[in-house]
């Protein structure tokens, strides 16, 4: 998805709400869609360009942007007018290059603790579950919940599977999991209620990197099934900083 500047994108009706003393929340109609995401990413880019000399913090989710200033906002009306102007005037932004990242995942039952349970309850063979999970290019909507946790869209309906009633106290770092209609990767060990189907040896969040998380909203993720021996090989390469994640520029 190479996003190009396009005036037609700026036709959503947005809501602007004060959110505490330092922040303004910008909301799109409350639906999850690629079109909304494209517009969110564009507006975010415009805001980043506009506030290049001023310290502001801009984060986005499915259909919202939160902009936080370093000072107390004492005139929300003016501040919101400025934001509306930035949206409607369509300040030019450079093309945003999106990437497809190929994420190796070992779906062995040693890692995929819930694979057999899902297989039983959904009447799908484990190999079919893996096939369905590795097929799509998942769209990265935003990063939240935990450092480096990607909210992904595009999970095949056949492997939607409800969260566990009792969350596990410890989910292993790198666990690839399904929670309802969502799939994702636990970037670090944490408690979690999603069903675990595999594990990736990659780091989704590394504090030692200039950019701690390789992916960004608008990128895509594809899971690639690997064997246990490939897993340990990649694991070692990642450990010694010798692994480069396979990626390609998306142009669709």
């Amino acid at each position: 998805m190479e996003l190009k500047f396009n005036d037609n994108l700026s036709h959503f009706i947005l809501q602007y709400k004060p959110f505490g003393e330092h922040s303004i929340l910008i909301e799109w109609p409350q639906i999850i869609s690629k079109k909304t995401l494209q517009d969110v990413i564009f507006f975010k880019k415009r805001l980043e360009n506009y506030y290049v000399k001023e310290k502001v913090y801009i984060k986005s989710a499915y259909s919202s942007i939160l902009i936080t200033y370093n000072y107390t906002i004492n005139n929300f009306y003016n501040q919101i007018s400025t934001l509306k102007g930035i949206y409607s005037e369509g300040f030019e932004v450079e093309n945003i290059v999106s990437k497809l990242w190929k994420i190796p995942v070992c779906y062995d039952v040693e890692f995929g603790l819930d694979l057999e349970d899902i297989s039983k309850k959904s009447n799908l063979h484990i190999s079919k579950i893996i096939e369905l999970h590795t097929k799509p290019n998942y769209l990265v909507y935003f990063i939240g919940f935990l450092p480096g946790f990607l909210y992904l869209g595009g999970l095949d309906k056949r492997i939607h599977f409800p969260r566990k009633n009792t969350p596990r106290l410890q989910v292993k770092k790198g666990s690839v999991a399904i929670g309802g209609s969502q799939t994702g990767v636990y970037p670090n060990e944490s408690p979690g209620g999603w069903n675990i189907i595999g594990n990736t040896p990659l780091n989704f969040f590394n504090v030692n990197n200039q950019n701690p998380c390789f992916a960004k909203p608008g990128d895509k993720i594809q899971f690639v099934s690997i064997s246990k021996s490939q897993y340990s090989e990649i694991h070692n390469q990642v450990k010694s900083n010798k692994y480069t994640i396979e990626s390609e520029v998306i142009d669709d």
Partner: protein, 284 residues
């Protein structure tokens, strides 16, 4: 260097937090009572972002291996230097070999210990604030050695800093409308603003839950953005006030947003304490 003889109940290094990585899901963190942390630094003439030790309820026992100056602010946890009681909110010179300890918590929940020049623990993603999964240590432990800058400006004195401690007894939490406030009905808002709420046992740096419920018919929202100080209403009617280590996103309706000073105030409350929400208007 400061040697940790006992870590206390829960003591943790904090500065003003890690704001630049929220878009990657990294909590802001930082001192729970930012005003108190800033005050401790101000008394010593430190920069406001210097790292301090956030001390929760039961204080640690610390041995100084160099001369320095310290200041304590926030909760009064009966600080003792060697065998002498000392005061909060004052510059105190300490010498090599001195031992700082604490007695009974008197009021407030979190005290802040600043040292001249600040604690020199690891900077990760532009901040020394400890957070599980970001910094190697998630709190201080017995026998830790905390690096500080030794200093010799014993005689230096600072302009009198006005200290507020009355807020430790304050019940009123000032709030603004949150993004989903307008979805509440009259009964819900009446309940919110005409009742006291009790701090639940589930209170920590991530969030404070409140005991009393608000009957709730609101549906969840599409996962959106939250801030420290956001008050969420869960499907079961529980109120959750997000604090400094809050996640960056959430799916519960965000009905209120605490004022900055009220986040600091709430950080001084402990299980069983009562609060009352007071609605403020946004400046227009």
């Amino acid at each position: 260097m400061i040697k940790v003889l006992h870590s206390g109940f829960y003591s943790i290094i904090q500065d003003l937090g890690r704001k630049d990585f929220q878009h990657l899901g990294v909590p802001i963190s930082g001192a729970m009572d930012i005003d108190a942390a800033k005050m401790a630094n101000a008394i010593l003439g430190n920069d406001s972002n210097f790292a301090v030790l956030e001390i929760t309820m039961i204080g640690p026992k610390l041995e100084f291996n160099c001369d320095t100056a310290i200041a304590l602010t926030g909760a009064n946890l009966s600080p003792i230097l060697n065998n002498t009681n000392i005061n909060n909110n004052a510059l105190i010179n300490v010498s090599k070999g001195d031992i700082l300890s604490f007695g009974k918590p008197i009021h407030g929940f979190r005290a802040y210990l600043a040292v001249s020049g600040g604690f020199q623990t690891d900077v990760i993603l532009y901040s020394r604030s400890m957070y599980q999964g970001i910094t190697i240590a998630a709190s201080i432990k017995n026998a830790d050695e905390l690096s500080i800058q030794s200093n010799n400006h014993k005689t230096k004195t600072y302009a009198y800093v006005k200290i507020r401690t009355d807020y430790l007894h304050e019940k009123s939490i000032l709030v603004f409308k949150g993004p989903e406030y307008e979805l509440l009905n009259d009964e819900q808002t009446n309940n919110l603003f005409n009742n006291e709420f009790t701090i639940s046992k589930d209170n920590n740096r991530m969030a404070y839950q409140l005991d009393e419920l608000i009957a709730n018919n609101l549906s969840d929202i599409i996962t959106s953005l939250v801030l420290p100080g956001t008050v969420q209403l869960t499907p079961l009617g529980k109120l959750i006030v997000l604090m400094r280590d809050s996640q960056t996103t959430g799916g519960y309706p965000r009905i209120l947003q605490l004022s900055e000073t009220s986040i600091n105030l709430l950080a001084q409350k402990k299980v069983g304490d009562k609060i009352r929400f007071v609605l403020m208007d946004y400046p227009s």
